[in-house]
């Protein structure tokens, strides 16, 4: 397992007090140290694993945060009551926004704080369009491959590179135990799809599922501390025929399982008919709904079709019910969507689902690049996030081909941090451009170590540079191997700066001499 700080950074904490919050808040940042003595503090998802002073003991789990309240309802209910919770104050410091903005967005249902009372190991975070765009990383073993240790390692690894939440999608052996190890050691909220474990309990036969088995599974996972759960309650019997002429039918696992159940019993989905009871359970633990898009398009041909939008309409109804119970809700979105059809997804989601935060899987902007779907989908993800999606579910290079390994997880997270950050820039997020400016300034001044340290992946940036110019003096050299010394535009420009200023000063002097007449350019 990789621990210790990211190259060029150390863990920093800000001690925060907030009126009405009676616990000490210790908000973590990744502090990037620059060679001029300055530093830049960045949002940090990596938890104690990057803190050299922290003692990591996977058997004992992470230290629970103080101030978790189990008897005062959900963050939504408390926000509506006007309360700024410890979690909200923590988040406000993390995001660099007023605590009241956090409260009001949660109260309005435009943002969620996934924080099960039974998962005190996590550091509070928020998902909503008024805040930084978040990234989820899916991990979890399948029947074919992988072990518990590998999955815990992937969780630590994914949060190291910036995953804001983790979904444990295990479907093989030891689902409960794998999840327990992940929850006790995860510094970020953990999501699941309870259907997967329920299906294991009935030996993988969807027609044998029942509300009882499902409900017991949900309660088991609530007790463990799962922060948000994907529930495919919008796949209704009447929607299924709408998928029959699709190129790729139903591509959501949960969606296909529920469709199989509905058809076998010719009965409405038990998730839909028992939704109110589910809300009561979720409210007890403050588990957040992630209403699943079981009928999302699995190909460009199926994007924005009748099946997809019929389900979205149902998710809107369910959102109202959940909010009436004081339960937090986000809405899952596609999938595979060509660029010109992406924005419509956000518009319709906001209209039908009362502005609940949108949480999309990509979308992939084309189907033709298996092995590169972290890129096809980073394109769609950046565009949909700019349009208002609050959290992006990553896609790894292994999508459609196999279970991601450690390198795939990192590649997926980095591609999605790029998409999320690009959207933050485009949305004018107040702190986003600071990092771009700091990195570009370092680049222009040939402070190579600073450029690496400020980048999303300092190790790989340095490694690529060092492939051709490994010696330490090259780290301050005014060129790299791309253009060589004579053709480095930035070196030439830096050398020119004085000449340009001289020319401008001379021009100003001439201008003053000539009696401050209208400005003439240096030459016409």
């Amino acid at each position: 397992m990789t621990t210790g700080p990211i190259t060029g950074s150390t863990k920093a904490y800000r001690e925060v007090e907030h009126p009405g919050v009676d616990v000490p808040l210790r908000v973590p940042f990744r502090r990037v140290h620059l060679s001029d003595g300055d530093h830049l503090d960045l949002y940090d998802t990596s938890g104690p694993y990057t803190d050299t002073d922290a003692v990591i003991d996977l058997d004992a789990g992470l230290t629970p945060r103080p101030g978790v309240v189990r008897d005062r309802g959900t963050q939504l209910q408390r926000a509506r009551a006007g309360e700024i919770t410890a979690e909200m104050a923590f988040i406000a410091e993390r995001e660099g926004v007023p605590a009241e903005l956090v409260r009001s967005e949660v109260a309005r249902g435009r943002a969620v704080i996934p924080a099960n009372h039974n998962h005190p190991e996590s550091e509070p975070m928020i998902i909503g369009k008024a805040f930084g765009v978040k990234v989820n990383a899916n991990i979890g073993n399948s029947a074919v491959t992988s072990s518990i240790a590998e999955e815990v390692d992937k969780m630590v690894w994914a949060t190291r590179w910036g995953a804001d939440t983790i979904m444990d999608l295990s479907t093989g052996r030891d689902i409960h135990l794998t999840r327990e190890w992940i929850l006790r050691n995860s510094p970020v909220p953990v999501g699941t799809v309870p259907m997967y474990q329920a299906l294991e309990k009935v030996n993988g036969d969807p027609t044998k599922l029942s509300w009882d088995v499902y409900r017991d599974t949900v309660i088991e996972q609530c007790e463990q501390g799962v922060d948000y759960m994907t529930v495919h309650a919008g796949v209704l019997l009447r929607h299924i025929p709408l998928t029959v002429d699709r190129v790729t039918g139903i591509v959501s696992r949960g969606g296909s399982i529920m469709a199989a159940w509905c058809l076998a019993h010719h009965t409405e989905s038990f998730l839909y008919t028992n939704f109110e009871e589910l809300c009561e359970i979720f409210a007890r633990y403050d588990v957040t709904f992630s209403l699943g898009d079981g009928l999302r398009p699995g190909s460009i041909a199926d994007a924005n079709d009748a099946a997809q939008f019929a389900e979205l309409r149902t998710l809107g109804e369910l959102t109202t019910i959940a909010k009436n119970h004081g339960v937090q809700v986000m809405i899952e979105g596609p999938g595979h969507v060509p660029m010109h059809k992406i924005v419509e997804n956000v518009r319709l989601e906001e209209e039908l689902c009362d502005d609940a935060p949108f949480y999309t899987l990509g979308p992939l902007a084309t189907d033709i690049a298996p092995a590169y779907d972290h890129i096809t989908s980073a394109i769609g993800a950046a565009i949909i996030a700019q349009a208002g999606t609050a959290m992006l579910c990553y896609v790894t290079p292994k999508e459609h081909l196999g279970l991601p390994n450690r390198q795939d997880v990192k590649d997926g997270v980095i591609a999605y941090k790029i998409a999320a950050h690009s959207a933050d820039l485009a949305k004018g997020h107040p702190r986003a451009q600071q990092r771009d400016d700091a990195l570009s300034k370092a680049r222009f001044e040939f402070r190579w170590h600073d450029q690496f340290a400020l980048s999303l992946d300092p190790d790989t940036a340095r490694e690529f540079h060092d492939e051709t110019l490994p010696a330490e003096p090259a780290k301050t050299a005014h060129f790299c191997s791309m253009c060589g010394p004579k053709f480095c535009s930035m070196r030439i420009t830096a050398d020119l700066k004085d000449s340009i200023r001289e020319a401008m000063d001379q021009k100003s002097a001439e201008f003053a001499e000539q009696g401050n007449r209208v400005y003439l350019p240096l030459t016409s």
Copy 2:
């Protein structure tokens, strides 16, 4: 050097005749063979290197295409005269559009056919917004690294994966000889920046440059057969002060060289003052202008600033002059641009430059991911191509860090094929979605070999699949290691198809029995 067909494909040719074109046209395609006996023909940039029947002899060079005319002016002049050239007829078949569309877009200056009379080895192609979005790959050595053989290999390698043109940006030793090897063996148009060689001739001192040295270099390259040349004639003395407060100054090599010259001599750019003579030279060979954006932004902070748009206005003036000489023109664009500022670049370019094809470098949507700039820029590239950019200059993972190697070239080309194809889909390009649909259909039907063969990179797709399930039976198995057999949504859905149809038929029967009253959904 890698030759032979891409896995799952063979080279196919269509023999085409066109009224008025008196040479036989043999238009190449990549034919993907599907397991159901069907096939799909794809646009193919790879030349004879993927043809098992071709004899490759680098010393001899590729066989010149027949019908190259050296005495009838440029493609633009001939298009204006109403002529459909052999090149236009070839391109029409390649693009699947009427030859008259090719002619009229060239005549209007909205598209260019870069085809120097002295580069008959290349297969004609077109760059314009009415056609498929194209991708350029930069290759070329620097003073620090790489050899001629490596660069020829990169050219073959880049076109294998889909590069539509190549720019040889060599700046080190043996510039002339490197270019000669590339030109004689390149099946795609070759572009250069003549300034780089001119600067070598004056030992790398920009202030020693002169119009004479530059002109002689241009003629030398025209004679060799370079198809298009980047000319930074829009960097004017009066623009330079506009860059002084930028975060990253001037980041174009050509731009910084010309700025250094202008300031040293306090004289207007010799490229600008001698532009008409340059047009006369270009017209003789039908070399296409790629008017360089020497003041493009090198960071998010500098995007869409006064310097950038002042230069663009000058490029518009130069476009008019070039077109008056019957010379084809395209316009280079940025660079580093946040998503919300991208579309404005296309709009302004079209307005100021009379709809000349736009040819952009990315743009990168954020600065913070060195080592992943093929991804940061694929996001910007897809968006700018959707808005109307005709050709995208790739960016490799080594951008800002070092000279790309073979793997970087491939990664860059694939990322850009994704961006270009995503834009083709979004623009409704008539043939684009055929490939997505064919691949998705193969995926849904578990025809793994077909899915690989239809993908941008069949080798890597297969390799990723085989990491966990290498045995041949897994190539027809109805699952992969991502979800395992029980959780494969596509298997479940496929199994359901009959039940859904049964349910629908039953419903139809009931409907008929009930006297064809208004349609009732399966359940309410």
